[in-house]
């Protein structure tokens, strides 16, 4: 398919290469904005464009001062610390509730399955601003607004659809006779779950956890409304920075986050391959 057949006319050859160029441009559009940020974050000046010195590859044009600012500025450090405190807790909640429910949902007889699924997926569908507004109203009523646990609960519920989707997808390929065999050999339900089922669905659970983690780690709308200044997370700090006084430190933070997402992507890809191998599929 990818090669041109030898009998292709000149017009067909021309179109083949034009098409490749068009696709190349679209890929460029996708990736360039992210890549451009990286060299700009080493700018020695407080500009958002390439200085003549940078273009001449003069070492004096580059510096680590924006990174230094990120790692020493108390605002940024507090924001980073908040993100690190909130996201894992939210992930833990959504993964433990979500995995349990996904196992329940994949049983053969579940009454109201469609309705339950619709409710559980809804946090992903409802626009964030509406969730944020509703949570702001409701959490103020019950005194959770502006508290650590308010933000954690809000982020946990936003991550749940991702856990449900990935774990149910893994459970589709799960061989039920294994749990029956375990029960037959005298293992209780809890032991069966942790020693037989869990290791097999672990790749799905971990990738669900990564989705839940990144949802919380990257979330800004809900935390803006549900949180108070004490829960200011990294995206919140970036949002303020972009809206009010845009400082080049943001580019350094952005670069750190890009590296972080590359790491996440790699982990996810390795997990996908492992899960396909476990299910006896050929990795494609």
């Amino acid at each position: 398919m990818s090669a041109i057949p030898p009998y292709a006319t000149t017009g067909q050859r021309l179109w083949h290469y034009t098409f490749r160029v068009i696709c190349g441009l679209i890929f460029f559009f996708l990736i360039a904005p992210i890549v451009v940020v990286i060299p700009l974050s080493f700018n020695a000046e407080d500009f958002f464009t390439f200085t003549p010195k940078m273009l001449a590859l003069d070492p004096e044009g580059y510096s680590l001062k924006h990174y230094r600012d990120f790692f020493t500025n108390t605002d940024w450090q507090a924001a980073l610390w908040n993100s690190v405190r909130i996201a894992p807790m939210a992930t833990l909640l959504s993964v433990s509730f979500g995995t349990l429910a996904a196992i329940g949902l994949s049983q053969s007889h579940v009454p109201f399955r469609r309705a339950i699924m619709a409710v559980l997926i809804s946090p992903m569908i409802v626009p964030l601003i509406i969730s944020a507004a509703g949570m702001y109203f409701f959490y103020s009523r019950i005194g959770l607004q502006g508290s650590y646990w308010g933000v954690v609960l809000a982020h946990a519920v936003l991550g749940i659809p991702f856990v449900i989707i990935t774990v149910t997808a893994t459970l589709v390929g799960f061989d039920r006779s294994l749990t029956r065999a375990a029960a037959n050999m005298g293992a209780g339900p809890i032991r069966t779950f942790f020693q037989v089922q869990m290791p097999l669905i672990l790749p799905g659970v971990i990738s669900g956890a990564l989705f839940a983690f990144i949802t919380s780690f990257d979330e800004v709308v809900v935390v803006l409304f549900v949180g108070s200044a004490q829960q200011k997370t990294l995206p919140w700090q970036m949002f303020i920075g972009l809206r009010e006084q845009i400082s080049p430190t943001i580019l350094a933070v952005a670069t750190v986050l890009v590296v972080f997402s590359i790491a996440l992507l790699t982990v996810l890809e390795l997990l996908r391959r492992r899960s396909e191998r476990l299910r006896g599929m050929s990795p494609s």
Partner: protein, 427 residues
Amino acid sequence: MSDITRNDGPTGPMLAADGTPLKRSLARSLRRQKLRALMLIAPLLVFVLVTFIAPIADMLFRSVENQIVSETLPETVLALRDWDAKAGSLPEEPVFAALAADLQAAVAAKTHTRLGSRLNYENSGISSLFRKSGRDVGKWDMTTDGPFREKFIEIDKGWGDIGVWQTIKTYSPRYTPGYFLNAVDLAKGVDGIEARAANERIYITLFLRTLWMSLTITASCLILGYPVAWLLANLRASSANVLMILVLLPFWTSLLVRTSAWKVLLQQQGVINDLLVWIGLVGDANRLVMINNQFGTILAMTHVLLPFMILPLYSVMKTIPPSYLRAAKSLGATDWTAFWRVYFPQSVPGIGAGSILVFIIAIGYYITPELVGGTKGVFISNRIAFHISSSLNWGLGAALGAILLVAVLLLYWAYDKIVGIDNVKLG
């Protein structure tokens, strides 16, 4: 029929190992299985209902709730019941006396300014009327200081304005459609529903703009996503996997990172303008304005949402056998006919899935328009956020949110019909 006769045969009903009839034993085991599944789901369901569904319900409730008037001015609302708002005369003394009593209690509880700001949304000027009157009324002696009608008008002529009383009467019920009417540029007057003043009509325009921009973003995502998805689906697996990373990396990169990248690129002193000046396409004096307008929002959001279009398209195209195209060509179709009559119709489910997904996400987007949209490129969600955090008109924000929510749920229902929510794939 034959089943029943067999069951009722001389040997009696079929029995399970423990001696109960098999039918009952099976039903019990099925019931137990259902119960166990529900027990596993229950904790999460309760969790989602409390932390998510209840807030949404609360928001919907607030979009019609209007208890503040009847709670702050209970006597006045009662007294106003007999007043004919259309007659064109001011209410009588008892109404003013009731207002004096209510307002005194409200001043003591410090709730009169809140009521003032609530009514100010419907009739601007009422807020200052309540604040000003509150100071004086607090000092009155209810038993000796009457009659109150002249005293009120003495404090502020606003109390002699029939419009003020009409507003109080119109908004005295405990629930009101007023916020929803406001959200579609209508108002509730004495004579029923009427259009707002021309300079206050902003929401229909905003809804239309949100719709138009979301459609534009969806269309540009489709135009850019289709060729890329085709290429990914038709390349050898090894090269497709490498190119797939270029799609997945933006998908996994923080939204704030991508938005800040666009903010940096599109500035007048930014990289794109510098490049255009350097090439000589644009003069240094008239650099392009690409940010804080609709162009900026559409460009940045197309970039943000493009992976959501490519991934569903790709998963559908992957299932179309390439031999169909070859068959069409060997039967004499030109390249274009083969694509348009054979390949394209089979990729339509992917187009539907991707387009609805992108549209659903786009229509409720907040962050990117807020940062690169300026004033002309903002969406309805930015207005909702404004009402909730700045103007504090929560009812109106909730009503706008409710309308947006209904639109999104309709689209979600369509998505479920076309694609099925179980078939959503991630990454």
